[in-house]
Each structure stands twice: as C-alpha cells, then as structure tokens.
C-alpha cells in the first residue's frame, strides 16, 4: 500500500495530505481534518450521512478514495454554514422540527443544498427523489420535505439568493 500526497481544497483551505491508497475521503475529512459534520452511518454508500460536495457535485465521501479528489474542491457542511441558502434551510429545519437525533442531518443539509443549487424550485416529488440516498430513521421525512418546501417558497419570494 503505497502512500501518496494528495492536494485538495477543503472548505476554502488548501490541504496537502500523505495518504495510503485505500483511504477514503470520509476518513480524511473526519479523522485527519476534524470535519466531524461528516458522519459515518454505514461506510457502505447506503445512508447518505457522509454526503459532501466535490467540485459542485453531491458525492458520498465514504465511497470516494481520497486519491480521486486530488486537485479538487471539497465542501462539507462546515464550509456551507455561511451561505444564505443553508442559513434559510437551517432556520426551516428548526421551525419544522425536521431533525430528531440529528445524526443524518448534516448529510441531509448537504444533499438539499446540492439540490437547490441545481434546481432552485423543486417540486415535492423532486425533493423526495433528491432525498432517496439519505436515510432518516426518526422523522418519517415529512418535516424535512416541508422544511425544504418552505425554503423554496421563501427563496422564490426573495429575488435571488
């Protein structure tokens, strides 16, 4: 298992890391860089709790070998916390009680942010579809969908983000 140097930009900061070939992006983000919003619910690509954005695309960090993101820009929820749309989403999650245990929530936030970046006015079906890869065992999804709908309504009311 040869080690390699991987360069990437994480949440706006340049990182250079020496990693072995099998290391996942999830392990690097959580355990080397301490971005603990990246949750490890399965490490099998099945739950979405480790969702991050890589070069604008929603990805599962647990299935991404870190070598693949050499030269890429990676954003976790920590890196999104300042943007307007995430702030609106966070307020609506609180308003609608859209999290209970909160373990799936960071991944949900990232997945919804990725959806809204591509489609600022998704239908209810499109929202449900976009959440297909993110499991929540507590809420039954309805409050999450309602929170997203409220954000969409808010954002379409306000001209631009």
């Amino acid at each position: 298992m040869a080690s390699k140097i991987v360069n990437m930009r994480v949440n706006g900061r340049d990182e250079a890391l020496v990693v072995s070939s099998l290391t996942t992006l999830q392990d690097v983000l959580r355990d080397k860089l301490d971005y603990t919003s990246v949750k490890d619910g399965c490490s099998q690509g099945g739950c979405g709790s480790c969702s991050v954005i890589i070069d604008g695309e929603l990805r599962l960090s647990c299935l991404t070998p870190v070598q693949e993101v050499h030269g890429s820009e990676v954003t976790t929820l920590e890196g999104l916390n300042q943007s307007n749309s995430i702030t609106a989403l966070q307020s609506q999650f609180i308003e609608k009680y859209a999290a209970q245990c909160g373990f799936c929530t960071p991944g949900m936030m990232v997945a919804i942010k990725a959806l809204l970046d591509k489609n600022p006015s998704p239908s209810r079906d499109e929202i449900s579809e976009a959440l297909a890869g993110n499991i929540c065992r507590c809420t039954g999804y309805l409050p999450i969908i309602e929170a997203v709908e409220s954000v969409v309504a808010e954002m379409s009311g306000a001209a631009g983000d």
Partner: protein, 336 residues
C-alpha cells in the same frame, strides 16, 4: 394490472414505564448566582427531545422562564441515576423526578425572597417571567436573579432541590400473573388506506389517520414528531423490514441499507393526527408517554387494510410482495 384499494384500522393501548416498575430516575436542580437553574441528570436524549421537555417541566415547576433552565445530562460523575431511555418511561419518570427537585428548589427560592421582602413565604408567587411578588401586590417584588444573588452572597443559602421517581417494584404472581405492571396506559387508534397492485404485489400506503391519547402533552410538536416518525417506521415494519427474509431460516441476512429495505422519502404518505389528553393520575402534569406506541398502531391497521383490499387473510409481517402474491394464489386456488 389491477390495483385494489382497502381500508383498515387498529386500536391499541400502551403501558408507561418499565414492566413491573422498580426503575428509578433522579434529578438535581440548583440556581446559579444570576438566577438561572441547572437541572442535572444522567438521562439520555435519543433525539426525541428529552432535554427540551425536561427544561419545560423544570421551568413550569420552578415558575421561572424556560430560557433560564439549563439541562445538563449525560455524565455519570455528576448526574444522579437514571435507569435509561426506553419503555416509554422518560417523560414520566424523569419528568416526575424533575418536578420533585424543582419543587424543593422553588421552596428554597421563595424562602430567600420572603426574607428579602420581609413577608411570609405563603404570600409569594412567581410570574414565570423571572419575578417573585406578593400575591395581589405586583409592585412588591424581587427578581429571581436578585434572589439567587442574595442567597449566594448575602444569606449563604442554597437554592437547590433533589428529586427521584420510583414506581415501587411489583412482583408478578407466577401462577396467575397478578401484578401492578404499569404506571398508566396511553391509547391509539390508526386508520390506514392502501392500494395493492395484484400483479406485482406492491403495496402503497395512501394515507394514515390516527387519534392518539397521551395524557397532557408536554410539547405538542414533539408528540407530533413521534407520531409521524412512528407512522413511517410502522410502514417499514409492515411491508419491508426484516433481518431474516426467509424466517426462520437465517440465510440472506441483510448487511447493509441496500439489502435491509425501508421506505424512502418518496414512499411516505400524508399523516393526519388528532391528539387527546386524558390526564394520567401519576404523570408529570398528567403526561403519559408516546415514544413507542406510535409504531404499534399503524402495523395492524395496514395489514387489516391489505386484507380488506384483497379479501385475503394475511397474518404475518412483513407483508412483502411475495406474501401478497402467495395469498392471492391461495385465494384463487380456494375459489377454483
């Protein structure tokens, strides 16, 4: 392809607290110098909102603003005993322990206020806004913050309280089952509408309507959160979830979320609910509990709805497409 619709319902009751009791929870409450209150526990919040509702209960019993109550839980070095978060027990047990501790702390607080105002304790009341005043004479008052400060720095008195709730253990007669098993009973009745595809065996739950009787609600939005989340889990239990797809055989045991099937966001139906409040005699402010039965009532309701749609009698869960198609085959064979 035929899609058949059906309706079913189920009525259930659910006991509060560990079976046969003997499951204590403790709480300690103390005032800080600035008149905030810390509720110290070792109870566990699994996401259902334990910290939130205990703060509400403490604020109510102390007569102080909700925002001034801090819940400090989850450290066995500092928090007194809690049997654990299960058995729909925490609102009831921890809530009662908090009331007991807060009541003692409130008494100590009022004694300090009485000394400062030179009146008797019986003449004092709290306004819930952070003030203590003489009944009927609102201008004769002292703030909770000033009271706490005086207790610390002038009078050398503590404003604190200890609380415990224990339902004494009840033995169960091994021959007859005679026992006092629970503290109270909550109730639910769920109506499910389904559509079944007779070609694929696929079941879609179209809607769930429920009435829940949970005693006094401490926080109605958190109760609703349990009801909606429980409905979703009930759908999964009824139609998909199993760790032994060919039970009792152990083969093909799922090992990931690709093989352990649960409903997705797109499978979730509308959930309507009505909440009734029939006070429990021994619950905190009459609360019963809601955490577990929310999953119990949807399951038989959905199975009854499927049986209603198809004119069959399925008596097992999960009702997978294979179970549906076998039931339809059997029905066809019987009528042939």
């Amino acid at each position: 392809m035929t899609k058949l619709r059906g309706t079913g319902f189920a009525a259930v009751n659910y006991p509060t607290g560990m079976h046969l009791g003997g499951d204590p929870t403790q709480s300690l409450v103390h005032a800080t110098t600035s008149g905030n209150f810390v509720v110290t526990m070792s109870s566990v919040d699994l996401g259902q909102g334990l910290k939130t509702i205990l703060a509400q209960i403490a604020a109510e019993a102390l007569g102080v603003p909700y925002e001034t109550v801090i819940v400090d839980t989850g450290d066995t070095d500092t928090g007194p005993h809690c049997t654990g978060t299960f058995a729909s027990r925490t609102t009831h047990r921890a809530g009662n322990a908090v009331i007991m501790a807060a009541t003692e702390a409130r008494k100590a607080m009022l004694e300090v206020a009485a000394e400062k105002l030179e009146v008797s304790v019986e003449d004092l009341e709290t306004d819930g806004q952070g003030n203590i005043h003489v009944v009927g004479v609102e201008e004769k008052s002292i703030s909770v913050a000033e009271t706490a400060g005086a207790a610390h720095f002038e009078l050398g008195k503590t404003i604190s309280g200890r609380g415990i709730y224990l339902k004494p253990p009840s033995p169960m007669d091994p021959d007859t089952g005679e026992s006092d098993p629970d503290s109270t009973q909550a109730h639910a009745c769920t109506v499910a509408d389904v559509e079944v595809d007779t070609e694929t065996g696929d079941v879609q739950v179209l809607g769930i309507k429920s009435a829940y009787e949970v005693g006094q609600q401490v926080n109605p939005e958190l109760v609703k959160g349990q009801i909606v989340g429980g409905a979703w889990m009930g759908i999964g239990h009824t139609l998909q979830e199993t760790t032994a797809p060919y039970y009792p055989a152990i083969d093909h045991a799922p090992k990931d979320f690709q093989s352990y099937m649960m409903p997705g966001a797109a499978d979730m139906c509308e959930v309507e609910c009505e909440v009734l409040e029939i006070a429990s005699r021994n619950g905190p402010f009459g609360a019963k509990g809601v955490g577990e039965m929310v999953t119990n009532s949807p399951i038989p309701a959905i199975v009854n709805a499927i049986n209603n749609a198809l004119g069959v009698r399925i008596t097992q869960i999960p009702v997978t497409p294979e179970v549906i198609l076998r039931a339809l085959d059997e029905k066809a064979a019987n009528s042939a």
